[in-house]
Amino acid sequence: MHPVDTMGQNREGAEYGFAFLDEDAKRELRRTIFKAVCIPGHQVPYASREMPIARGFGTGGMQLTLALLGPDDTCKVIDQGADDSVNAANIRAFFALTCPGVTGTLRTEEASVIQTRHRIPELPLRADQILVFQVPYPDPLVVVESNAAKRRRMHGRADYARLWVKLYEDMVAFDEITISHRYPTRINGHYIIDPSPIPRFDVPKLHQAECLYLFGAGREKRIYAVPPHTDAIPITFNDVAFAVESFRDKTTGKRHVCRRCGADDSFLDEFPDNDGARVFQCSDAAWCDMRLERLEAAE
């Protein structure tokens, strides 16, 4: 049974329009996206609509994607870097159901719009591609201030003193900045953003990129953007270099490689296999597949 049959019509004959959302909702999203791009890093509020997928599962990212998609788009959805993670599979199925004509793809280079949770693809994106992030916490100041009005004031004035104090306290306690994912990153010299729970490894990809990055928080009702060719600098102290995950083995000192394609420069998933041994594999499934294809073609 084709899911579109059950989705398209109910007994009253009412139908869902293209991309599920009504035109008013899409227009509001588009106005908000436009403002977000004009004010890089600023969290622009919008009246986030409820979706048939739960809050917390990417409704913000979905609303962005649904406002963007047209029938000549090619769309990829990933979660933790994998197309077939349950969350990505679910969202991709929703797009297939509600956006007839849009082509789905697993290949990063074929997509015009990519929706992602917690990773930026390893393959550098082009100017004709848009990366949409699913965001749980849009505001990096939430760790130091629970009141939204106060946080808004601090952002407007680029007053991030209390965030710096938090980082300093980390240094005092651990001699390390302990923030792992969601690393606070300064955009165009003003707003500090929470780049969503991407690992430190991915933060440098935000800086002076070719593509547009859009961030959507559905439950928290904020959209923000990092335009192409824009400074995106992870904040740190002058004498503390920003470091990415090293994947260095403590005993051998060597950087782990992907057991499948041999990559020594990608973000790796680490997990115990059935024998209890620790194995490492590219988190970005499409990147790993592409490398394998190239290796096989070269043979």
Binding site: Y16, A47, A54, P136, D175, S180, P199, R219, E270
Partner: protein, 368 residues
């Protein structure tokens, strides 16, 4: 060796959907009819109508059936459905004095104009199991109906009743209703950016999750706050929905909605003319849900009190704390999302922990 089978996630989801259906259909019981849910579980049904924020009794029943009885999920279904509906227009404000009442009580007075109407309520029943309910058949229902309708007294009860609080207003003990032509805040069209007007406060709570509202109101009742409410009036009934006629513009009754409304009277404060008056807390929601309406009224007062005093002393008085945490769809969604894969972020956490441990070891090993 193969990577995670590329079809795994999608297949698992499909399998899950089929299993949910199979669980529903197993055993020898007949499929639930939507009428059964609406008629025989009207209070659960009301909760879904109220938290979904869409008055569609048939779909509320379908939502409960499809969600296997999960009221949070069922409300979510209605909310998502509502999300796609076009905005046809807005009605004028409705006066609940037009309500065709099925239940109406006041704790403030022994008797009230029109009388205390207990209606159908479990409040004064004994919570003892009636084991005979385990063996009911259609003939049981027929007998109950005959008993009720056969012997009904022909009393002439009025359909609508005046408001109890009008009595207090007439005496000047309650501030007069302020006239307002302010546009009500539409929480489905604008996000809450604090401070928000009272209409945003009430609208958010009107479709808030009952348990969340109750917990916060209870904290105030127990002492994390000082509302000290008396229920001036609690009424449940059907409010006619008046929509302007498309040609003449005259208000016409398009149908009716079941509403629960609670007005509480709380501690007195100085009015504008210097004389002290009682203060008011207001709660209202779709469906028959008294606990929610009372909790809402208490929180309405708690937030207003703190706003007037300019001081928030307890969580139930903080509009941000209350309004951002009582929406069941948002809270349930976010709570549930923690079950999703988070292994990349976890990988990142492990990296930081290992780095910090290395630093700690180096510090411990360093020569003094």
């Amino acid at each position: 060796m193969a990577y995670v089978a590329i079809r795994g996630g999608a297949d698992a989801i499909k399998g899950s959907a089929r299993l949910m259906d199979a669980l529903r259909a197993m055993g020898s019981s007949a499929p639930l009819e939507l009428d059964q849910i609406e008629r025989q579980m009207p209070l659960l049904h009301s909760r879904v109508l109220s938290e979904g924020g869409l008055y569609h009794p048939r779909l509320a029943s379908l939502a409960l059936k499809q969600s296997l009885g999960d009221s949070l999920e069922a409300a979510f279904f209605l909310r998502a459905y509502r999300s796609t509906k076009p905005r046809l227009g807005e009605t004028a404000p409705h006066d609940t004095r037009t309500m065709r009442v099925v239940r109406r009580v006041s704790a403030a007075f022994k008797d009230i104009p029109g009388g205390q109407m207990l209606g159908a309520t479990p409040d004064y029943l004994h919570r003892l199991f009636r084991f005979e309910l385990m063996d009911e058949g259609p003939e049981t229902f027929a007998q109950i109906a005959r008993d009720w309708f056969g012997n009904r007294p022909k009393a002439e009860a009025p359909l609508t009743f005046p408001k109890v609080l009008d009595t207090l207003r007439d005496e000047g003990l309650l501030a007069p209703l302020a006239e307002s032509d302010e546009e009500p805040f539409d929480i489905t069209r604008e996000p809450l950016i604090f401070p928000v007007p009272r209409s945003a406060q009430l609208a958010t709570m009107a479709r808030g999750e009952t348990g969340g509202l109750l917990a916060l109101a209870y904290s105030n009742m127990r002492g994390y706050g000082d509302v000290h409410p008396t229920v001036g009036e609690l009424r449940v009934g059907y409010v006619p929905v008046m929509v302007p006629h498309p040609v003449t513009g005259k208000p016409m009754e398009a149908g009716e909605v079941l509403v629960t409304e609670c007005e509480i009277v709380a501690m007195f404060e100085k009015a504008d003319d210097g004389a002290p008056v009682f203060t008011l807390g207001y709660g209202a929601c779709f469906g028959h849900n008294e606990v929610k309406a009372i909790a809402m009224a208490v929180l309405d007062r708690a937030i207003s009190v703190a706003k007037d005093k300019g001081r928030i002393a307890n969580p139930s008085e903080d509009p941000e704390f209350v309004l951002l945490h009582v929406d069941g769809i948002e809270s349930m969604g976010f709570c549930t999302h923690y079950k999703m894969p988070h292994y990349v972020t976890f990988q990142s956490d492990m990296d930081r922990l290992r780095a910090a441990r290395t630093k700690a070891e180096e510090a411990a090993d360093a020569p003094r």
